[in-house]
């Protein structure tokens, strides 16, 4: 699969190291269809290619949206691009968040850091179909108040009476009036029926490990918990083995897994 050329329509700085780009296809004018949780391979000409989740609204597929944290060579090169520049896009790839399986149930979304980006499409989907779900909670943890992603979205969601939205940071100064502490601590603060809940979790692996433990303490079974995994990728179509995770390929079998499917691997360091 060769990359399709997309043009950067709009760039938005989210935090000091994270930005969102809206892309439009140079050829296809009928939008870009994807499922919440899927990712694309973004190619910067002459530099390289990286997997990046789609972070936009799946009900508005005219533009393709990606939120990217500058951590190294390719993400750094993506950051240097300007509106009007081109990037190569292959995708969408991978499994999706279980937004349909969650219908009729309570939903608890727990995210940390850049992990809010891959879950935002699932949350948009739930909002667009709000009546199909029971209680809905979104819990988000960031490093400091300056690192909080999508503050306008969070503010808007918080103003809705039928959503439980909680944000916490690991540390803050006196001017922060929100919560300080780790995101798993928020789980016991929101209302849901553990027998009839699906949880979707995305963030650094350590954060996901603590989150799963806390969800289990609150009465969820591993079959009720979904996580999104990250590994380096190359082909993204299950050929090269770069993203191998035990017997699974993250690009093809994941990135979203039901936790009981990977529980044993998750306990092993650097599978």
């Amino acid at each position: 699969m060769i990359p399709q050329q997309f043009r950067i329509q709009k760039l938005k700085s989210e935090t000091y190291d994270t930005f969102t780009m809206e892309l439009v296809s140079e050829k296809k004018k009928d939008g870009f269809s994807f499922l919440p949780g899927q990712f694309n391979m973004l190619y910067v000409f002459g530099v390289g290619e990286v997997p990046i989740s789609i972070s936009g609204d799946p009900t508005k597929q005219e533009n393709l949206m990606h939120t990217i944290r500058d951590v190294g060579s390719v993400t750094g090169a993506l950051r240097k691009l300007e509106e009007g520049d081109s990037v190569g896009v292959r995708g969408p790839f991978g499994s999706a968040w279980p937004v349909e399986a969650a219908e009729g149930k309570d939903v608890v979304i727990v995210t940390g850091g850049i992990g809010l980006a891959p879950l935002r499409p699932a949350f948009y989907h739930i909002l667009a179909n709000r009546k199909k779900y029971g209680k809905v909670a979104i819990l988000y943890g960031a490093r400091t108040p300056e690192d909080i992603l999508y503050p306008e979205d969070l503010q808007e969601w918080r103003s809705k009476f039928d959503l439980q939205v909680r944000v916490t940071v690991d540390r803050a100064g006196k001017d922060w009036h929100g919560t300080v502490g780790v995101v798993p601590s928020l789980i016991s603060k929101v209302r849901f029926d553990p027998k009839n809940t699906l949880a979707m979790v995305c963030g650094p692996e350590i954060m996901m490990r603590f989150t799963v433990q806390e969800l289990e303490k609150c009465g969820l079974m591993t079959e009720q918990i979904y996580v999104s995994m990250e590994r380096n990728m190359k082909c993204a179509i299950g050929f090269c083995g770069h993203c191998q995770y035990g017997p699974k390929f993250i690009c093809k079998d994941g990135p979203v897994f039901r936790f009981d499917e990977i529980e044993e691997l998750f306990a092993v360091r650097e599978v």
């Binding site: 803050a172 006196k174 300080v180 502490g181």
Partner: protein, 151 residues
Amino acid sequence: MKDIKALLTEHAFFRNLKEKQIETIAGCGKNVHFSKGDVVFRQGEEANAFYIVKKGAVSIEVDGAERGTIIIQTVEAGDILGWSWLIPPHEWRFTANAVEETSAVALDGRCLRGKCGGDDALAHTLLEKFAGVLAQRLEKTRMQLLDVYGK
């Protein structure tokens, strides 16, 4: 308003305590209220209580000298606030501020220490319960220290 004994009986922290023990502890309790911005306790002062937060939120802060005041944790409804009353030298290690209108039950540390003096079983149970609170706090602090969202 619920009486203190009923409140303690329902609280997860006091689960498995005997009714008599809860009654003894409740005897050291009183309802307290803090307005937004009130200091609940101050670093370095004598620690003579712990709190069961019923409503509102309290920030636990440390004076970071040239880095200014750093908030290290927020305690909310249902949480236990304060352990220094139990461990000598009974001095608050941090400052706690109400960040919202806050209601709590304050349990008098001197009163409790007095009652524990004549009741080994109660002393042991309380120590065990607070060890659990401290272990949880330590685990969460470690996770904060890991800086999981850093590069």
